[in-house]
Symmetry: none
Subunit: 225 residues, 2 copies
């Protein structure tokens, strides 16, 4: 599911976007000021950010810079300012697109699709992730170990998929919970413990000392190749 972070201090705009985006199958996160936006972005790893420039706490350019410091997520800027100086500033700070308010929802959605499409083409790398003891085929949704196929339940596969798409990276508990169980179960970290135990029994040579499905206590999990 594609996730969108909407940042705006006007509740009615956030509400309108949430309704429209949710109806089209996007997973919507929201923030009402710049600092919390940065926090949510770190936690949730959205696929695209819709950012209003008139935030109460931080200047829009600062928010863009804060995101660009560590992420290349597409950023679509919303603003009431129509002068080109504002557009140039935002785009040169690292924004991907600039839409002036009032905006047409159709157009925004189209620009959002364009931004997401670009973001995706970046990591359509080889759909097979391989470790020393098992192989994950992301396209076929299959896992093989010693030549034999290992049967995974839907939830187990969901976890493996998210991890295999971020090999070597630390994936936060919240991101796993959001992508596998949905945004309403962000605190059910016990699920993760139960399922990681199962996955290790199925995939690790020594489940008590996992080499590939690694826990980073207090932070998340990591898929080591």
């Amino acid at each position: 599911m594609t996730s969108v972070l909407v940042v705006d201090d006007e509740p009615q705009i956030v509400r309108a976007l949430r309704i429209n985006l949710s109806a089209r199958g996007y997973d919507v996160m929201t923030a009402y000021d710049g600092k919390s936006a940065l926090g949510v972005a770190v936690e949730g790893k959205p696929d695209v950010v819709v950012l209003d420039l008139g935030l109460p706490d931080l200047d829009g350019v600062e928010v863009i810079a804060g995101l660009r410091g560590w992420s290349s997520v597409p950023i679509i800027v919303l603003s009431a300012r129509t002068d080109s100086a504002a557009k140039v500033e935002a785009l040169d700070a690292g924004a991907d697109d600039y839409v002036t308010k009032p905006f047409g929802m159709d157009e925004l959605l189209a620009r959002l699709r364009a931004a997401v499409r670009r973001g995706l083409t970046r990591d359509v790398a080889d759909p097979v992730v391989e470790t020393s003891s098992f192989v994950v085929d992301l396209a076929a949704k299959k896992v093989r170990r010693d030549g034999h196929e290992v049967h995974l339940t839907p939830t187990e596969w969901g976890l493996v998929e998210v991890l295999a798409r971020n090999p070597g990276r630390l994936v936060s508990q919240k991101q796993l919970l959001r992508e596998v169980w949905g945004p309403k179960h962000l605190t059910e970290s016990q699920y993760l413990r139960v399922y990681f135990a199962q996955l290790r029994r199925k995939l690790e040579a020594d489940p008590a000392h996992p080499r590939h499905l690694v826990t980073e206590p207090g932070m998340g999990y990591r898929f080591e190749l």
Copy 2:
């Protein structure tokens, strides 16, 4: 040098763009209709395409489709049509941006820079901050020293993350406490001393004389590269 393909059937627009782009160091190619545009694109492999939609021979969407068949080069569409249907159509066909005529040259150039930037950063590595004795990978949340990975606890990582995102800059005690422990612990500067001692033991060659995790007495801490 960055190369731009300008496609428009109005000579004065092509001329204006050629002058402006050349003056800014771009290598400019031109075409006046859709078919030759596709030919020039194949021959010249431009880094970005500026495409007018009102071409004499082909519909704009066809040109976009023709390019997208083999290339993921960024496409910026120019058009006199302001209705959202036209924008949606072009963007969904694979365009990256849509600018309505008449357009401001500053804005077009900024959107062009944004498009080129995206094209370049397509597959760069994770953002890493590097010092002479250790390496911080912000996306993977990893720290390596002498090739070996160093394990950090969540609090330790929180500090390193804030510092690494502000390399060389002085970060006040309050900012560190607020970002790692939250706004209710702004006076617990002892936490910082304890954790900086731990981090120096883990990361510095000579923990008693830190070179990278530097204390600025009475003010805060600084991450020296």
